[in-house]
Every structure is written in structure tokens, then in C-alpha cells.
Subunit: 460 residues, 2 copies
């Protein structure tokens, strides 16, 4: 019996033959994620476990046979971390999609990895609670979010995934299940395996359960839009707003090109006059939240005064519908960039105060290479999302390398939330300290001596 038939037979014995897809039954969706320009890859099989015990048996089998295993949630990643490996299998969590518990006393939700953000949000909204990590894509799975350490617009107030996951259950490469953390706010008992596995892109363990920190759902919110004459003005305003004590829940900048596309293609009605639109080079979007309505109103006034002092050309308190629309448009920026033919999407992070300097460098790189690089970003976090329009592959690589280098020179990092996957792996290998990469490789070996967990992701 060939190794392939052996794998398939043994997987079928674990989950049932109908939960193992092979050959043409493997839908095209399983061969890629949303990263642009990556070669799709057919796995040997897609297996759909229904419980963590099945995941254990799958890993035991894969480890014994030396088969590469790629975990897959909703496939919305942007770096190719869940693209199957040649000769490998995909463990798809579409059946493990249950919200196991919403514990209102401990403010914790316990979920399976296949639960999607919107599914969780609907369940939490009913109870006046929120899981505040909102990356743009609500169809993303929690398993994927944990593995890429997803961020999003609310990180400026609530932090990213790693700040909101209190514990995990996971299956190690050899099939052993472990539990790390749980319904605990703090823990100083041994190395923090939870934090190490978060953001490890499926290379250290397979997450089978996550304990998520919940927050009271703020009842009132307001969205303010402020056009500025320069991006410099925007970025200089940021620390002052953070320092004001108003505590915004979102603090986003949108550049001229991106705003233009949003207004034209999504038909946003923001009430910005043609005159201002002609002069503004960048926009700041600020969302405030508060459980008490009167305080939001006071805070909007105070924010408006701050923004005016900081050089905003105008301050618009958006109607609730327009507020929702601009935030949705901001979430869809990736799809707009993709739809308009972007050749790559990146999300460099730099110290917040260095955004202006970083963007000047990006502008220079764009000009020097004849590329178009529009962007928007989590200004409060220094996390800049850019579409790179440069059809020549070699030139594009050069553009990316130079942008990553520029970010790192400012004390930043290649990715703020999308992860490295396979797409950014070569740049990481080239630009990161080799001592750290070697250390990461050794950590990987400590978890996965045979190298079967998503091999070739993050580093070779």
C-alpha cells in the first residue's frame, strides 16, 4: 500500500470515511488562503475532526508516518500560513465550530477553533458582552486568529489576540493533548505556553480550544472623522489624543488614495466638502465608546477641541450609519486593494510616533520603483496596511524588502498582525537577526522534533 493510501485509510478510521476528502473531492478553497500571488497547493487529504480526541489520533498518525499537517480555520489569512504542504494533509476545523460555554461570571468564552468571529459576536451581543478583537474579516475563525495573533481596529483600546486569550487546549505533534491557562486572568506557573503558541501559525501545536477574555459591551459609541492637510499632522496628533485620557476604541488613518477609492467605489456619504477633499492628504477616524451616553457626548466635544487644536481641517461627528459605513469600508480596504489589482498586501508595524517618517520612506520607495503604495492603518498602534501595486515580480520583491527594512530600521517589525506565513518568510530570513531565527528553530524542534507541523511556514 502506498503511503498516501495508508494515510487516507488511517484518517478514515479515525473520523469516518465521509470526513476525509481526497483527490477531486478536495475543493479548490482548501488549496490556498487570501494571500495574493501564492501558488495553490493540493493536499493529499483534507480531514475534518469532530473533537479534540480525533485531533490527537490524527497527529499521532501523522507523526508516526512523518506527514506534514496544516491546520485550517476559515482560510482568511493573508500570508499563506494555511496553504497545504506538498504531500501533506489539511486538518480543517469546519466541524469543530461550537461555542462551548459563555461564562458570564468569569467573563470567559470557551470556543472550538472553527467558531467564526461573527458567530461569536452574535452570541455575545445577546448577553451584553463583547470579544473585542476585530480584524477586518468577521468570517475569520478563532483558531486562525489565535495562530496569527490577529489584531484589528480595536487593538488601541483592547490589545490584540494575545491580550485576550487566557488559555488554550492544544494537541502536540505526537498527539499529546495539553491545557495551558484557562479561565485565569494571570498565571506565573512555568513558561507561558499559551503565549508561545499564540501567533505560531500552526507550527508548534494544533489549537483545539480557546478561552477568550470577554468585556462588557459598550452601549454607546460615536465616530468622528477629521481630514488633515498632511499625514505628518495626523501622526503628530495621535499621541496627544491617546494622552488626553479620552481612551478611543479606534484610531485609524486613511490616506488620500484609499479614501478616494472608498468614497467613489463604496459610495460613502461622509459629508466632506469637495473643497476639503481637494486639500486633505490624510484622514483620521476616531471611535469612542462609553457605557454612559452623556459621557460620550462630552468626550466628542473634548475630542473635537483636541483635533481642532492639532490642526484638523474640519471635525465631523458622523451620523451612526455613516460611522458604521466608514468602519466597514476601512475593514474592506483589503478587498478594495485586491479588487483594484494590488500585487501584494503588507502590514508593517513601527513605533507609533514613527509612522510619518516611515510613510515618507515608503513614498520615496514608491517613487523610485514606479510603484503605487496606498495605505491606511491602525494609527494608534503604528500598524500600517499597504497595498503594493507593482506587477513586475522582481521589482515587487525589491519594494517589499526595502519597505520591511525601512520599518525595521525604525525599530519596527515585518508584520503587525498578518503573520509571516510563507509569503513573508524569505524577507524574514534575510532581514531578521540570525541568532533569533536559530532560537526559534530550536523552539520549533522542542515542540515538533520531526518537523511535521506546518513545515516551511515562518522559516525553513
Amino acid at each position: 500500500m502506498s503511503q498516501t493510501s495508508q494515510i487516507i485509510e488511517r484518517l478514515a478510521a479515525i473520523v469516518g470515511a465521509h470526513e476525509v476528502l481526497t483527490g477531486e473531492a478536495i475543493g479548490e478553497d482548501y488549496t490556498h488562503d487570501e494571500a495574493l500571488n501564492l501558488e495553490p497547493q493540493m493536499p493529499v487529504a483534507v480531514v475534518k475532526p469532530g473533537a479534540s480526541e480525533e485531533v490527537s489520533l490524527i497527529m499521532k498518525t501523522a507523526n508516526e508516518l512523518g506527514v506534514a499537517v496544516t491546520a485550517r480555520g476559515a482560510g482568511t489569512g493573508l500570508s499563506g500560513a494555511c496553504v497545504p504542504k506538498q504531500g501533506g494533509i489539511v486538518v480543517s476545523f469546519e466541524r469543530m465550530n461550537k461555542i462551548l460555554e459563555i461564562d458570564e461570571e468569569n467573563f470567559v468564552a470557551v470556543v472550538e477553533p472553527g467558531v467564526c468571529l461573527d458567530q461569536l459576536d452574535v452570541a455575545l451581543a445577546e448577553r451584553g458582552l463583547v470579544y473585542p478583537v476585530y480584524p477586518g474579516e468577521y468570517s475569520a475563525s478563532l483558531g486562525g486568529n489565535v495562530n496569527t495573533n490577529a489584531g484589528g481596529m480595536r487593538a488601541v483600546k483592547y490589545g490584540v489576540t494575545r491580550h485576550n486569550v487566557l488559555g488554550i487546549e492544544a494537541v502536540l505533534a505526537d498527539g499529546s493533548p495539553i491545557k495551558s491557562g484557562g479561565k485565569l486572568i494571570k498565571n506565573s506557573t512555568g513558561y507561558d505556553l499559551t503565549q508561545l503558541i499564540i501567533g505560531s501559525e500552526g507550527t508548534l501545536a494544533i489549537v483545539t480550544k480557546a478561552y477568550l477574555k470577554l468585556h462588557p459591551r459598550p452601549e454607546h459609541s460615536a465616530t468622528v472623522l477629521a481630514p488633515f492637510a498632511t499625514l505628518d499632522d495626523v501622526t503628530q496628533a495621535i499621541p496627544k489624543i491617546v494622552d488626553s485620557g479620552i481612551g478611543p476604541s479606534m484610531l485609524e488613518y486613511i490616506d488620500l488614495m484609499t479614501m478616494h477609492v472608498m468614497i467613489e467605489q463604496l459610495e460613502l456619504k461622509l459629508g466632506v466638502s469637495a473643497d476639503i477633499r481637494a486639500k486633505a492628504l490624510a484622514y483620521l477616524v476616531v471611535q469612542l465608546e462609553n457605557p454612559i451616553k452623556a459621557r460620550i457626548e462630552e468626550d466628542v466635544v473634548s475630542l473635537g477641541e483636541h483635533l481642532a487644536e492639532l490642526g484638523a481641517m474640519e471635525v465631523y461627528l458622523l451620523e451612526p450609519r455613516a460611522g458604521r459605513e466608514i468602519i466597514e469600508a476601512r475593514e474592506k480596504a483589503f478587498w478594495l486593494a485586491k479588487g483594484n489589482g494590488a500585487n501584494d498586501i503588507i502590514d508593517v508595524v513601527v513605533p507609533r510616533a514613527s509612522i510619518a517618517e516611515f510613510m515618507q520612506k515608503v513614498s520615496a520607495i514608491a517613487q523610485e520603483t514606479g510603484s503605487m503604495i496606498p495605505g491606511c492603518g491602525h494609527a494608534g498602534d503604528g500598524n500600517v496596511h499597504m497595498g503594493v501595486f507593482q506587477p513586475d515580480p522582481e521589482k515587487k520583491s525589491e519594494v517589499l524588502r526595502r519597505i520591511f527594512q525601512a520599518g525595521m530600521d525604525l525599530g519596527g517589525a515585518i508584520s503587525g498582525e498578518h503573520g509571516l506565513g510563507v509569503m513573508k518568510k524569505p524577507y524574514f530570513a534575510e532581514l531578521e537577526d540570525p541568532v533569533k531565527i536559530e532560537l526559534m528553530r530550536n523552539i520549533k524542534k522542542a515542540f515538533d522534533p520531526k518537523g511535521i507541523l506546518n513545515p516551511g511556514t515562518m522559516f525553513d
Copy 2:
């Protein structure tokens, strides 16, 4: 030349002979931390580097000679993590005590490991900023805080050390320096070495610099004290207060015995009537903060209503001086317990909603073993600090084992913030999942193949 003389000579060549203490020049302080009942241990030498380059050379030498290295900050730990190893050296950070930068644009302080919390707080107060991690002991060093993942009373609002350290610089076992993270709010670029090293008690790397997240310093605060008839009433009130949206910055419970000692020995004047004192079995202390004075006043009223509804026997808004005093007294609870002859101090963490059940189990254990186990704790975090009064060493071990087991049975962990050190190592070895301990050992080997970094701490 003996190995000892060789080490001493080489260390002297790195830092200068006057920065290496040996023999009788080694003060008694270097032989222990604040853990109760641990055997002090003399190191071969205490070396005081002045810069990270010197730390690199020290580690290179120690690695080559196979000498155990224990890093030491202020020595205020409670688990014996900085007790020297036999035949080993101590790297004391008393000279590396500079605040290198307070970056007001990025809200980041960059500090050397020997900087103490009070030193940092004075510098930040001048600028209207705060580093919000407040474990009881302000003379503690930031290096020690990072290595034990220190917590404290404000964790309910701001999280613990791991949520407030954005990056570190560290020296690996072989002397290689690395930088992980930095002035970055988020980062999804490879494994999070920062988070792995935080809480690793000096066993993975020597931290030489920390990037700390700062917050605006809240201008107004208020402290409310509420006596309750039972501990059950207190713990049932907690989730309701967290859910109310008031967002307390501290949420502490103090049991009858501890409150009695605080009032009598520290002469606290809280205005609690003799009648209430006779009936109250537990107290809740709630601190509120706000940049806007009027809001604090509103929140105090709202909190008072909540507490009354939740069964508080009385609600006292403390005068500012009394508010400060009760918080200071709470911070000093360890010293009170020590002064009164406690045989051990522990800090089990359980899910917040399980505190009452946990404390019932502790009561039963106390009764069954003839021990006295008074406590107080970070009720908002489920983190219970207890003094264990049981002079018989064997019986005491049994008490600790049973308390840890009771906490773990409720989904908790042995330590919320003090760490394992050497003191809790045997219990960890006995009670923790051996698969996880093996994994931690493998991680340790990935960082430190020769096992020279604080060997025998956390696990053997």
C-alpha cells in the same frame, strides 16, 4: 588554578576587580530572597555588570566554564528564584539601574533591569504618566518583575507585567545578545520571545533592558470599603461590579483575620463601627480612577448603589488618607504575615467566580490540619494570597500540596504572580501535567543546552 579562581579572574577582567565580590565580601543579602524558610546559599562570586556588553561576556565565560548563573534584581521575590546555586555566580543588576528613556510620544519607558518601581514611578509622575504594574513591593526591580511576571492590585484594570512589557533585550546562555519587540504595541513576526522570557525566572535568558508600556496617569481616584457578612457575598459581588462598566482599578478582598491585624497593628482608622466589625466576615476594597473629577463622583455613587444591592453591610467612601493607608496596608500584608510568624506565603490563582468555593476548601484544610490560613487577595483576578501558619514542616508541605491541588481542581494554577522559584518546584513537579513539564524542559534546552541559567529553578 582552581575553577573558582579561574572564574573570579575572568569575571574581574570583564567588569573590573572591584565589581566582583567573593568570600566574606559577599553580603548576607545576596544569599537569599524574601521567600520564607529557604536555606541561604553562598555563591562563588557576585558580579556587577555595568552594561549589557559586560553581561554578554559574563555569559560567554560562564557557558564555557559550565558555571551556573543566577540573575538578581532587588531580591524581593517570594519563591527563591534568585537564591544562588551551589558553585554558581550571581549577576547583580544594582549598577544597571538607569531609566534610559521616557518616550512620551510612544508611551514607552526603556529601563535597565536594576531600575526599581519607585524610582520609575517618581520619574513618570513628573510627566503625568504611569507604569501601572504595582506589586506590593515598590523596591522591587523591573528585571525581577519581568522574570516573575509580577502582578499586583491594578491587574484587574491594567493586566500584569506580561501585558505591559512591549519588548526586551536579553543575553542568551552563550552570550549572544538579542532584541525582541520594542516600542511596538503589536507584532506578529515569528515566535514571541518576549512573552516566553517574561515569567521564566532567569532560566531562559538574562534580561538587560525592558520596553515598558506607559499610560496616562489618572488624576482622580477614590477608594471605597464595603464590609460583607460572608466571603461568599463578596465573591458573588465581583462579576457584577466588573460588569457594571465602572471599570475599577483595584478590587481587593480582605478576610476577617487579615483586617483585624491591619486595624490593630497598623492602627488603620477606617471608621468601621465596632458593631459592623463584629459581624463582617470579609471586606471588599474598590479603587476607582478617572481623569475627570465629576465622573469619579458619579461612579462612586453608582458603585455604592451596586454594593448595597449586592449585600454590603455598609459602604464607606474613605477619606484620601484612609484610602491610601488601606491600600498600603494591603501591600504590606506579606510583611504582617511574616512578622506574625507565617511559615509560608502562597498566591494560588483560580477563576474569579471560584474564589468562594476555593476558600471553603482552604478553610476545611486549615481545620483538618490545625493550621491557620488568613488571606486577602486580588478578588477581581481570582488571585488569593494566603499566609500559612503551620510550624510542622511535614504537615505544612501537606497543607500546601492540598491547597495547590484544590486550586488546580477548580481550573486554577499554583501561582498567580510570585512564580515557582525553588520553593514551589516540588509541588509543580508533583501536580502539573508531566507532558507540559517535559515540553518546558525541552524549551529550556533550546535556550540553554548546558543548563547554566538558574538551574533547578521551576523544575529540575
